[in-house]
C-alpha cells in the first residue's frame, strides 16, 4: 500500500435529522465542501475535505434519517454506502435530549459493523430539559467511544475528530447489540447460512434484514441462493406467530426495547416544574385560533421583506451593471453583450437579490424550529392538493421563485410525495409570472381579470394535484415529522446554510440562463427569429389567436418568464399594450405564460430533484396543458 493511501481517511457522519449534523459537518470542512447528487440518484451528497495532523480526511455527510429500513431513497443510499463502501469510521451524531429514539438508529448502525464513534450532541439542550447522561455507562453499553459535544458552541469537536482518527486507524469493529433470545436464535440460524455465500454485507446484518423481509436484501440473496430466503421466511413466520405482529415490527420493537434499556441505564431525568419555553411558545404558535393569524403574519412578513430588500438590491445591481453591457455593440459584440453578459446580469441583478434574502429568512425560520409548526398547521390544507404539510414551505416559496421551491421539495420523504410536490410547485405563478399577469392583464384589461386568473390557477393546482395524487403509483404517505424544540438560531450555521443554498442555486441556474441567452441572441443576430415565429404561427395564431410574433416571446420566456413582457414591448415598439393586443389576446397570452414550461432554471432544479425523465414529463405536460387552456380560453372569450 502506498503512503498516499495510508494518509487518506474517510469519515461518514450519520444521524437523525435535527441533531446538529450539518453544524458539525460545516465545522469540520469549512468552505471546502462540494455538494452534488449521489451517482444516478436524486439525493444530495455533501462531501468535504479537511486537513488534520498531516493527513487529508474526506468527510461525507449522510442524509438525516431515522432508520435504515428501505423506506426512503435516503435510507437505502446511507446503508448501501456504509455497508459496501466501508468508510474508515462512522461518526454517529446523537441528540442527547432524545436519547432513546437516537439510540434506535445507533443500534442499526452498529449492525453494519463499521468502526464507529458517537458524538453525544446538544448536551446543553438535554441539560435544559433536565436530562444528564452518564457517558462512561453509555460507552460501556454500546461498546464504542462516546464524546459529549455542543456543536453550536464548537465544544468537544476537536476531541471528537481526534478520537475519530484514532478509531479509524485502529480499525476496531464494534460489536452489534444483542436482542431477545428467540430473535437471536433465528438470527444465528440464518447467519450460519449467509456466511456460506459470497456477499459484501455483514452476514448478521443480512440475516436481520431477511427476517424483516427487506425487499432489496431478499433480491440480492436470492440471486445467490434462494433457499436461504425461503428458510428466513419460515423463521420470520415463527416469530410472527409468537408475537402476533409482522416480523419487521417485532424486530423494530426489540431494537427500541434495547435502546430504552440503555437510555434508562445511562440517563437521569429530573423533570422541570413549569412548562418549558417550547411548550409555552407552542401553546401560542400552534393555538387553534391564534396560530393561524401568526402563520399568515409570518408569511406576509417573509414575502414583504424579500420583495422590498430584493427590489432595492436588484435596482442597485442593474444600475451598476448597465454601462458594462452597453460597452459592447454590433454583431459578435451584441452576442457577447446581450447574450453572455445579459444573461449574467439577469442572474445577478434579477434573480440573486430575491434569492439571497429569501434563503436567509427561510434558514432562520428553519433553524428556530418554526417551519415544522407551519407544516403542522397547514397539513390538512395541503392534503387537498395531494401532498402533506411539509410541502407548505416549498409551496409558499413557489410564489417567489420556483427554483428554490423545487429544491425545497427535498423535505418530502418518499419519491412519490416529492414528485407530486415538485409538480404542484411548478404550477405556482412565481414573481416573474406575476409581473406578466399584472403588467399585461392587470394594467390593460382590469385588475379583476388578473385576480380571476390567480383564482383559476388555484383551482387548477387543486385539480392537477389531486389527479397526480391519484395517478402516481405507490403508497400515499401522510405526515410524520419530528417537532424539534424551539431554539435561538445560531448565526454561524444560518449564514453557512444560506451560503450553501445560494451556491447550489447559482450552480444550477446561472449556466443555463447564460447559455440560453447566448443561443437566443445568436438566433437573433442570424435573423432566424422571424422564421421561428412563422413556423410556430399555426399554434400561436391559429390555435391561440395571438399575433405570430408571440411565438418568439414564448421561446424567450423559457429563460425567464418576465422576458416575454419585456420583449413584447421591444418587438411591438410600444409599452402601451392596449394598442397592439386585444383584451382577449392579453388574457390568453397571460394564461399560456402562467402554465407553460417551467423556466429553464426550474427545469434544471427538477432534473436535480426528480431526474431527467420526470422533469421531461412535467415539462411536456405543462406545455400541452398551457396550450389547451389557452385555446379554450380564446374560444370562450370570443364567444362571449
Amino acid at each position: 500500500m502506498s503512503t498516499a493511501r495510508k494518509e487518506l481517511l474517510t469519515i461518514a457522519l450519520a444521524g437523525n435529522a435535527n441533531v446538529g449534523k450539518s453544524v458539525i459537518f460545516n465545522y469540520l470542512t469549512g468552505l471546502h465542501q462540494h455538494i452534488g447528487n449521489w451517482p444516478g440518484k436524486t439525493v444530495e451528497k455533501a462531501e468535504g475535505t479537511l486537513h488534520f495532523k498531516g493527513r487529508t480526511i474526506d468527510v461525507l455527510d449522510l442524509p438525516g434519517i431515522y432508520s435504515l429500513s428501505a423506506f426512503s431513497i435516503e435510507e437505502r443510499i446511507s446503508r448501501e454506502y456504509i455497508a459496501t463502501e466501508k468508510p474508515d469510521v462512522v461518526i454517529n451524531i446523537v441528540d442527547a435530549s432524545a436519547l432513546e429514539r437516537n439510540l434506535f438508529f445507533t443500534l442499526q448502525l452498529l449492525e453494519l459493523e463499521t468502526p464507529m464513534i458517537m458524538a453525544l450532541n446538544q448536551v446543553d439542550v438535554a441539560k435544559a430539559k433536565g436530562i444528564t447522561i452518564h457517558v462512561p455507562e453509555l460507552q460501556k453499553s454500546l461498546g464504542i467511544p462516546v464524546i459529549p459535544t455542543i456543536a453550536t458552541r464548537i465544544k468537544g469537536l476537536g476531541k471528537l475528530l481526534d478520537k475519530a482518527v484514532k478509531v479509524a486507524k485502529g480499525k476496531k469493529l464494534p460489536k452489534p447489540a444483542r436482542y431477545g433470545r428467540e430473535i437471536e436464535e433465528k438470527i444465528r440460524e440464518i447467519t450460519k447460512l449467509v456466511k456460506k455465500i459470497p456477499i459484501q454485507y455483514p452476514p448478521r446484518w443480512v440475516a436481520i434484514k431477511l427476517l424483516e423481509g427487506d425487499e432489496e436484501i431478499r433480491k440480492v440473496v436470492s440471486r445467490v441462493d434462494p433457499k436461504i430466503v425461503s428458510s428466513a421466511e419460515g423463521h420470520a413466520r415463527d416469530l410472527e406467530r409468537i408475537h402476533g405482529e409482522p416480523c419487521s415490527i417485532v424486530i423494530t420493537s426489540e431494537r427500541y426495547n434495547v435502546a430504552n434499556k440503555i437510555a434508562r441505564k445511562s440517563q437521569r431525568i429530573t423533570p422541570h416544574p413549569g412548562p418549558s419555553l417550547t411548550e409555552r411558545l407552542d401553546a401560542i404558535t400552534t393555538h387553534p385560533i391564534v396560530g393561524y393569524p401568526i402563520l399568515i403574519g409570518v408569511m406576509l412578513l417573509v414575502l414583504f421583506t424579500v420583495f422590498s430588500v430584493g427590489g432595492h438590491l436588484s435596482g442597485f445591481f442593474e444600475d451598476a451593471m448597465e454601462p458594462i453591457k452597453d460597452a459592447f455593440g454590433g454583431g459578435v459584440g451584441e452576442l457577447i453583450g446581450e447574450g453572455l453578459l445579459g444573461g449574467l446580469i439577469a442572474g445577478i441583478a434579477i434573480v440573486l437579490p430575491f434569492i439571497l434574502p429569501f434563503y436567509l429568512i427561510l434558514t432562520l425560520l428553519e433553524d428556530s424550529g418554526y417551519l415544522p409548526r407551519a407544516a403542522f398547521m397547514t397539513d390538512n390544507l395541503m392534503h387537498r392538493v395531494g401532498v402533506h404539510g411539509k410541502a407548505f414551505i416549498p409551496f409558499i416559496l413557489g410564489y417567489g421563485c420556483n427554483v428554490p421551491a423545487c429544491l425545497g421539495c427535498r423535505v418530502m420523504e418518499t419519491e412519490r410525495e416529492r414528485t407530486i410536490a415538485a409538480f404542484v410547485v411548478t404550477l405556482i405563478p412565481c414573481a416573474a409570472v406575476t409581473v406578466v399577469v399584472l403588467g399585461l392583464v392587470g394594467a390593460f384589461v382590469g385588475i379583476h381579470w388578473a385576480l380571476a386568473l390567480y383564482l383559476l390557477n388555484l383551482v387548477m393546482i387543486f385539480i392537477l394535484g389531486r389527479v397526480a395524487f391519484k395517478v402516481l403509483p405507490g403508497e400515499p404517505m401522510g405526515l410524520i415529522m419530528e417537532m424539534p424544540p424551539y431554539r435561538k438560531p445560531n448565526a454561524r450555521s444560518v449564514l453557512n446554510e444560506t451560503w450553501i443554498r445560494v451556491k447550489d442555486f447559482v450552480y444550477i441556474a446561472f449556466p443555463l440562463i447564460i447559455i440560453g441567452s447566448v443561443v437566443l441572441m445568436g438566433l437573433k443576430v442570424e435573423g432566424l427569429l422571424e422564421s421561428i415565429g412563422d413556423f410556430m404561427s399555426p399554434v400561436t395564431a391559429g390555435w391561440l389567436g395571438l399575433p405570430a410574433i408571440t411565438g418568439v416571446l414564448l421561446i424567450f420566456g423559457v429563460l425567464r418568464k418576465e422576458l416575454t413582457l419585456v420583449m413584447l414591448a421591444t418587438l411591438m415598439g410600444t409599452a402601451d399594450f392596449g394598442t397592439v393586443l386585444t383584451p382577449t389576446q392579453m388574457i390568453v397570452f397571460a394564461i399560456v405564460v402562467m402554465y407553460y414550461i417551467p423556466c429553464i432554471a426550474t427545469i434544471a432544479a427538477l432534473v436535480k430533484e426528480l431526474g431527467w425523465r420526470k422533469a421531461a414529463y412535467i415539462t411536456v405536460f405543462e406545455i400541452a396543458f398551457a396550450l389547451l387552456l389557452g385555446g379554450i380560453a380564446f374560444r370562450l372569450l370570443t364567444l362571449a
Binding site: I249, S253, N380, M477, I480, E482, M483
Partner: protein, 205 residues
C-alpha cells in the same frame, strides 16, 4: 353508579378547561343553562364525592377522577355528533341527541361508530373492548399503543419513529380542521397526519 347530571357537570367543566376558560360557578351554570344557585349546590356535592376541588369565589378544578369522566363523556359526545351528522339530521337535533346519547354508549360501541364515521381500518379480531384509534384521544390524554394497522410502509415508518406496540403515547394537541396530531412518544414530540394517526390503535391509560 354515576348519574347523568354528574357526567354533564364534569363534561362541562372539562370543556371549559379545554377552551382555557376559568371554571367558576357562573361559567359552569351558563354552560349548562342552569341557575347559579343549583350549580353551587351541585359543585359542592361533587367536591364532597371527590370529583373536583371547589373553593367559593375561586372556581373549580377537576381531580384526576373527575377529569377522566369529563374527558370520556366529551369524547363520546363528539363521536355521536359526527355520527348523527352523517345521518343527515338537522344541526339542532345533532347536538341535543348527542347530549342524550353520550351517557349510554359503551366504549366498544363508541369505537365501532367512530370507525364507521371515519372509515378506518378494522382491528384484529379479539381485540379488547377499550382499544380505540389514537384520534379518539383528547388533547392531553395518554394511551398505550396496542396495534398499528394499514400499509407496510406506513406502519414501519411509524414504528421507526418509536411508535411500536406497548409504547406509551400522549396526545399533546390536535390541529383544527381535521388536521394532524401532535404527540409525545419516547421523549420526543412528533406531528402525525390524521390519516396515519387513525391507524394507530391505543388503550387509554
Amino acid at each position: 353508579m354515576i348519574t347523568e347530571s354528574v357526567e354533564e357537570y364534569l363534561e362541562a367543566i372539562y370543556r371549559l378547561g379545554e377552551r382555557e376558560e376559568a371554571a367558576t360557578t357562573t361559567s359552569v351554570a351558563k354552560e349548562l343553562k342552569v341557575a347559579p344557585a343549583s350549580a353551587t349546590q351541585m359543585l359542592k356535592k361533587l367536591a364532597k364525592q371527590g370529583y373536583l376541588k371547589y373553593k367559593p369565589y375561586r372556581g373549580v378544578t377537576l381531580t384526576l377522577k373527575g377529569e377522566k369522566i369529563g374527558k370520556e363523556i366529551l369524547r363520546k359526545h363528539r363521536v355521536m355528533e359526527k355520527f348523527l351528522d352523517t345521518l343527515g339530521l338537522p344541526k339542532s337535533r345533532v347536538h341535543k341527541d348527542a347530549c342524550e346519547l353520550e351517557h349510554h354508549i359503551p366504549n366498544d360501541l363508541e369505537r365501532a361508530i367512530h370507525q364507521r364515521v371515519e372509515g378506518e381500518i378494522p382491528l384484529p379480531p379479539g381485540a379488547p373492548g377499550d382499544v380505540m384509534p389514537l384520534t379518539s384521544l383528547l388533547d392531553g390524554q395518554k394511551g398505550i399503543i396496542f396495534f398499528i394497522g394499514g400499509g407496510r410502509g406506513a406502519s414501519q415508518r411509524l414504528a421507526d419513529l418509536g411508535l411500536t406496540p406497548r409504547t406509551e403515547i400522549t396526545v399533546v394537541k390536535s390541529a383544527l380542521f381535521h388536521g394532524p396530531l401532535m404527540v409525545c412518544v419516547r421523549g420526543t414530540t412528533l406531528a402525525i397526519g390524521r390519516g396515519l394517526a387513525s391507524r394507530v390503535f391505543v388503550r387509554e391509560k
